[in-house]
Symmetry: C2
Subunit: 329 residues, 2 copies
């Protein structure tokens, strides 16, 4: 067997999706990636199907409840599976952590247990969206609700470094999400951010982008605040759900014998759009969050993304980008 | 011929869509609605195809440019087609105005020329979205960028009265758009608004809604700030565009002879979602805005919506709802 090069931790607790799906996805992943070993955090009895040689098991029964408030999460010092995973990442016992649980908890404990990279004040949630050709990345998807110029400029640099490393781009085109493309459109903090980014040598700023143009290839990186980004992500998810219903309905009423296959094909394309993992970037380590109710395919792709970020050295690239930079704040 | 009962003005200038489309849509509408006459504002030579008996023509060559700043719009006192239309509405020469031009201009001039209803501080842009069964309305879609508790509570009342009158509902279920459904989620101004709405006897408040659940039938009215609403609207539009591409691709590669028909059916369902008109509510009159680059079908449905709002007496219902109410601010 091949000596392991990457160690990825998986927090299997506190998820909305059945543990069996998480296990199946993790199992698929190590079978397909002989250079990766897993650290499985959860109930050890669930992990019997894994080869001992490829897995470390951290027995833990305590999950962060899906609906715990952030205050509860920070106060509760109890040894939850999430805290264990983040601690393993903080002391470099693992290269990456994949979580299926409470996003808010991941973000606050991530900042508390795994420190932010020098020059970065707040980590951000970033996700890849696939276009008919290529893809784009959007951040922040919910790690920060504040709408401050400096914060958005920081996200622009984080997103740019991320897309350049993981997407293999030279100079990622960065756009600011706004409700119009003219310079005078939108709230003041966005217009101030646009001025700041136009001057930033670290960012290839291409201006404003409207949400209907996200998939048009204008930008590689779309920057927005965490509230708006989270709403956009979920709006796309909801709209694609409606689209699936229309397709099923249209095909069902057409006497096309093969419509089953077409529906499945469309569904898989549309699902991929929303069910991939998102990454918490800006911390000293790779952290990937799965969609709340993902299946084994979602887990496998989240693990693949974590491996990709380790190989692309995303944290190192970010650190290099933020070194010796004038503070934005 | 039937005596006209409704007089609807159409501003045919300053649109991104070809005048021919606007004309065709307006023509379709009066042919199908013998109880409506039109006041056509624009270049009189464009209106030769309309029966004189059914149309008044306001000759005007000056449009508000699509990209004019609001400051320009307010300063420029020149007699634009939009100002003419709003003036006709203000002095009750018409029952409704349908505009195809600059949204920002419509909103600022609407407030300036057509006054707000008593008790309403700011008009809001509202739009109907169709679900597989029934529909829901969302506001504000861009008339106001401020995020104030009082403003959102006002939108909740406006949306509730609008849905009850136009949708024939008894007690519209009103939800606040947020990034989670638990009480502790989201920014403070949203949590304060939720507390306020829970106490408001005028509003049947059902709590928070997340964007992925918009089409799930939880709420009849979804309340959010104008920036977020505008972004949600355009995100849905962009996502449905991507869905259309996936469907076309999936069907093209399936050897289904009838796939043309299916694509068209899906497209029309998805287009209807985004290309319907939106209404500016809260002013003394009915104002419907078409999608920027709509076709004749969009114009016709915008005119149908305007007629529907006149018949449902939306402004009168709103006025009744806001009379003798404690000021929210």
């Amino acid at each position: 067997m091949v000596a392991a090069r990457f160690q990825i931790a998986v927090d299997t607790l506190g998820s909305e999706s059945p543990t069996a799906q998480i296990i199946a996805g993790a199992r698929d992943f190590i079978d397909a990636n002989v250079d990766c070993d897993l650290t499985l955090i959860g109930r050890s009895r669930d992990f019997s199907c894994f080869p001992e040689s490829r897995c470390r098991i951290v027995d833990c029964a305590t999950a962060v409840p899906q609906h715990a408030t952030l205050l509860d999460v920070l106060r509760k010092k109890s040894d939850s599976s999430l805290r264990s995973g983040l601690s393993l990442l903080a002391d470099s016992s693992v290269d990456a952590l994949v979580s299926t649980g409470n996003s808010g908890a991941l973000m606050v404990l991530g900042r508390q247990i795994v420190s932010t990279l020098p020059g970065i004040t707040r980590p951000a949630m970033i996700k890849q969206f696939t276009r008919t050709t290529g893809s784009f990345w959007m951040l922040d998807l919910g790690a920060n609700l504040a709408r401050r110029r400096g914060l958005l400029s920081e996200f622009a640099r984080i997103g740019s470094a991320y897309a350049n490393s993981i997407g293999g781009l030279k100079e990622a085109k960065v756009a600011l999400l706004n409700i119009g493309t003219e310079a005078h459109k939108g709230p003041q903090y966005l217009r101030d951010t646009a001025v700041e980014l136009a001057r930033d040598p670290q960012v290839n700023f291409v201006g404003y982008i409207e949400a209907h143009a996200l998939f048009d290839g204008i930008a590689d990186v779309v920057v927005t605040d965490g509230f708006t980004g989270n709403v956009v992500l979920k709006s796309i998810e909801g709209a694609l759900g409606i689209a699936r219903q229309h397709v099923q309905h249209a095909l069902a009423s057409s006497d096309d014998s093969k419509h089953e296959a077409v529906v499945n094909k469309v569904n898989s394309s549309l699902n991929a759009q929303t069910y991939n993992g998102a990454s918490l970037v800006g911390l000293r380590g790779v952290i990937v969050k799965c969609h709340g109710n993902t299946n084994h395919i979602g887990i496998r792709s989240a693990l693949a993304l974590a491996k990709h970020e380790i190989v692309a050295q995303v944290p190192q690239r970010l650190e290099a980008q933020f070194e010796h930079l004038p503070d934005l704040h």
